[in-house]
Symmetry: C2
Subunit: 204 residues, 2 copies
């Protein structure tokens, strides 16, 4: 096979994989774990079942890969937007709003379905824990970078963790109904509290 032929095939394969991963998130967010089989996701992605199974032999492979892939995509986009953030006052609120956005869309809904499925499936749980630890670490690092705070100052690490825990809780509160207005008030208050707590640790 010549270089010229190999490249487009790799591109096609990568595009197919990407379509499957994105369809898996949509599917999981809409119909949950039990309805998100490889066959159903393949159909939604417009990919043959055989091709889908070539990429992802099992639903566990597909769904955990999807949550990992889309999480990394989101985190990369957050990082890219870091340069647009204001410095000084207003930065904290802007960062909190950006971070919260990760917990109120289809990715979070998909992740919740995955977590709950994993909570009563030992094999899936092991995989999700590895994924969770990795995405959790990355998210924490991005939040620190965006907030522009020095984690070596006592209390900062826990405050950033608390921010992500609250973001997750707010995401859960948004699962069944639109909680946007209440959430905005809570986040405004949270931004004030966070600024007070980490004021001395600002590097931006």
């Amino acid at each position: 096979m010549t270089e010229a032929l190999r490249e487009p095939r790799q591109d096609r394969s990568r595009a197919t994989r990407k379509r499957l991963l994105e369809a898996a998130i949509e599917c999981l967010a809409e119909v949950g774990w039990s309805g998100s089989t490889v066959a159903v996701v393949a159909e939604r992605a417009g990919v043959s079942r055989g091709a889908a199974q070539h990429h992802f032999p099992t639903r566990e492979d597909l769904v955990t890969s999807a949550v990992e892939y889309v999480s990394q995509e989101r985190l990369s986009r957050l990082r890219e937007h870091a340069v647009d953030l204001p410095t000084g006052p207003g930065r904290t609120q802007a960062v909190i709003d950006m971070v919260e956005h990760m917990y109120t869309g289809p990715l979070f809904r998909a992740a919740i379905h995955l977590w709950v499925a994993a909570s009563s499936d030992e094999r899936l749980r092991e995989r999700v824990l590895v994924l969770e630890a990795q995405v959790g670490r990355e998210t924490h690092r991005v939040a620190l970078e965006l907030l522009g705070v020095d984690e070596t100052v006592p209390g900062v690490r826990e405050t950033v963790q608390a921010t992500l825990d609250m973001a997750r809780g707010l995401g859960l509160a948004n699962l069944l109904s639109d909680d946007t207005r209440r959430r905005a008030r809570v986040l405004r208050q949270w931004a004030t509290m966070l600024d007070t707590a980490v004021g001395d640790a600002r590097t931006v």
Copy 2:
């Protein structure tokens, strides 16, 4: 039927109902929504299927009633412990720990399964939203009482809401693995931030 005969029958009926509700929470927490049929819960409770269906015609009835009943039980117990709480420093941490406890046991695991099931089931969603609003209001009121803060002071309402949102997020983080040590550090930091935020609103 004489009064003497009616009373024990009512007691038996109430005891049966209670056993079913408690078994439903255990069952939901362990095997999730799909495995928690009325028949399965009845067997776990040691109640005949007919008797169970007399109390709760559908799984929706049983499970929503269970989450409501056990939530109210927990909130009552929290209220009873209010008198044991220290006044002044230390109270906030003690209250936060008590509240968080509601989000890390079987009741929260059961509720998560119910929420996620409701997120892709329109009819169940309506019922869960009503239940959620009611339990949410009650929990907020109890948290206010225990913390001993005046909600009319600006920011206090949102700070208490933030506390419950964070408690929910920490509960979710505890779903797949024991997050006790990290959680303790986050809650300690949270107590400090909360005290700073609501200091002027203390009534206890």
